[in-house]
């Protein structure tokens, strides 16, 4: 077995008594006290996640924006500097390599934040496409730590700690100083709540973590992060998104800008029709889990649950499920097979929980 990687805050998590689990090759805190309490802290107040396992790539040079725009399906070129843009990263055949956030820091400088388990795959993929562009592509994942401060109190708690923190809009990014350190602060997150993600050196992030603990910010683990993102229906790579599906299959058509002149996968995605659709299902009884079978009213298998849990906010079972479009029931009657028993599931259009982000 290969040794698990540790974030710069690993010792802090252990000291706090966090339950540690392997995740994408990293030894990560899954929960500190209670998943429920951590979810509630983020929805109502404030919580902090160590997400230093995620990857940071930097594009620098005249073509930085152009290269980013070519790599991903969403529109990077037309977004102003200081904006963050969520996008899938696709292959020529339209399948998804990863989903990521592109941060347009300033002219000629772009930060791309990718999923921890895909760092190598993404970097190799980008490296292979990079030669015609006048910019550098550097993987700085090992030099950066990352905290996600999430919840309605985030701005009030973070502002006094930073040299300068204007009230930037949601999905914006800003470079500032934290003590002697320069940090990148983005108003992004994976919980649906207002909040910030702070990229910095290991020393900077450790110092920030200590400050946040002094302010009694609730440390939150991966389990609550997963419940929070699922309550607001954000996809997770490896679940809703995989190497086998295209963005349309995962309900991400809004991120595919076919009006762009060119990007990897465009010619395929222009002709591609979705084979699947991602639906949101909620259950009054029973908890849906990944890979459980989804059935129509007559008991025919029509798809599978890609993510499922018990919502802390609604107190009900919630699921995202990949349904074959051809088999989608017109009467919208769904059942989920839980231990060989059909549990009725209700289709909903909006997310299970409405986050409070601005």
């Amino acid at each position: 077995m290969t040794e698990l990687l540790k974030t710069s805050l690993h010792g802090e998590h252990v000291k706090l008594g966090a339950k540690m689990v392997p995740f994408g090759g990293w030894d990560m805190p899954v929960q500190y006290t209670s998943v429920k309490d951590e979810v509630i802290a983020v929805r109502q107040n404030i919580g902090v996640f160590d997400v230093s396992h995620m990857g940071e790539f930097f594009l620098e040079g005249a073509d930085a924006e152009k290269f980013a725009d070519y790599l991903v399906t969403n529109d990077i070129l037309n977004a102003p500097h200081g904006k963050a843009i969520y996008s899938p990263l696709c292959r020529e055949d339209g399948t998804v390599v990863d989903d990521l956030i592109v941060y347009k820091l300033r002219p000629g400088k772009v930060l791309i934040c990718v999923n921890a388990s895909n760092i190598e795959k993404d970097f190799n993929w980008m490296k292979a496409l990079h030669k015609d562009f006048d910019c550098t592509l550097v993987n700085k994942s090992n030099e950066y730590s990352l905290l996600a401060l999430q919840g309605p109190e985030s701005y009030a708690v973070l502002k006094p700690m930073m040299k300068d923190l204007p009230e930037i809009e949601y999905y914006s990014v800003f470079e500032t100083n934290f003590g002697a350190h320069s940090v990148i602060i983005a108003r992004t997150g994976y919980t649906g709540e207002d909040g910030f993600e702070i990229f910095g050196s290991h020393a900077a992030i450790k110092e920030l973590w200590v400050h946040l603990m002094e302010k009694k910010v609730t440390p939150c683990g991966l389990a609550s992060r997963d419940v929070l993102r699922l309550e607001v229906c954000y996809p997770l790579y490896g679940h809703e998104l995989t190497d086998e599906v295209n963005p349309f299959d995962a309900g991400l058509g809004w991120t595919v800008k076919l009006t762009k002149t060119n990007f990897v996968g465009k010619s395929t995605l222009e002709r591609k029709k979705a084979k699947y659709k991602l639906v949101k299902l909620t259950l009054d009884k029973g908890i849906p889990r990944e890979n459980y079978m989804v059935m129509d009213g007559a008991g025919n298998s029509i798809g599978t649950v890609t993510s499922g849990t018990m919502s802390v906010v609604t107190g009900k079972g919630i699921a995202l499920a990949r349904i074959e479009i051809e088999k989608a029931p017109r009467d919208e009657v769904f059942n989920i097979d839980i231990r060989q028993k059909a549990y009725p599931a209700k289709l909903i259009k909006k997310s299970f929980v409405t986050g409070g982000h601005k």
Partner: protein, 129 residues
């Protein structure tokens, strides 16, 4: 990890506890189990009249993030089910030994010898961590 292991109970390696009173065995999950699971949100146990077989699964307990099988500590017929837990399975988190799941009328009292004593269970928990 919590090490609350009452001496008067018997245990399984799957972290169930059993209170043996004559031919009736009351079954629950241990404090160690509830602590490992975290917030318990769903419980599925058989109805009164169901037959359990020693070592087989008889239900599930679910936390927010996981599903765990329950294993029968003895064979026999379910004679009672704790309806208090139906709407509030989280009671197991606050009081694992006060939150019994089912009572079983034991078929073969010799099966009790398969169960661990408090000391043996304590050693088992220590060795698996």
């Amino acid at each position: 990890m919590s090490t609350n292991i009452p001496a008067n109970l018997k245990y399984t390696k799957e972290h169930e506890w059993a209170l043996v009173e004559g031919d009736t065995v009351t079954v629950g999950i241990t404090d160690f189990a509830q602590s490992a699971l975290g917030d318990i949100v769903f419980l599925e146990v058989p109805d009164v009249g169901s037959e359990l077989k020693f070592g087989n699964t008889f239900g599930v307990v679910e936390s927010i993030k996981s599903v765990s099988d329950l294993y029968a500590p003895v064979s026999g017929e379910v004679v009672a089910k704790n309806s208090d837990l139906e709407g509030s399975p989280e009671k197991i988190n606050s009081d694992a030994y006060g939150s019994w799941l089912i009572k079983v009328k034991i078929k073969n009292t010799e099966e009790i010898n398969n169960l661990l004593t408090a000391q043996q269970y304590q050693d088992f928990c220590n060795s698996s961590h």
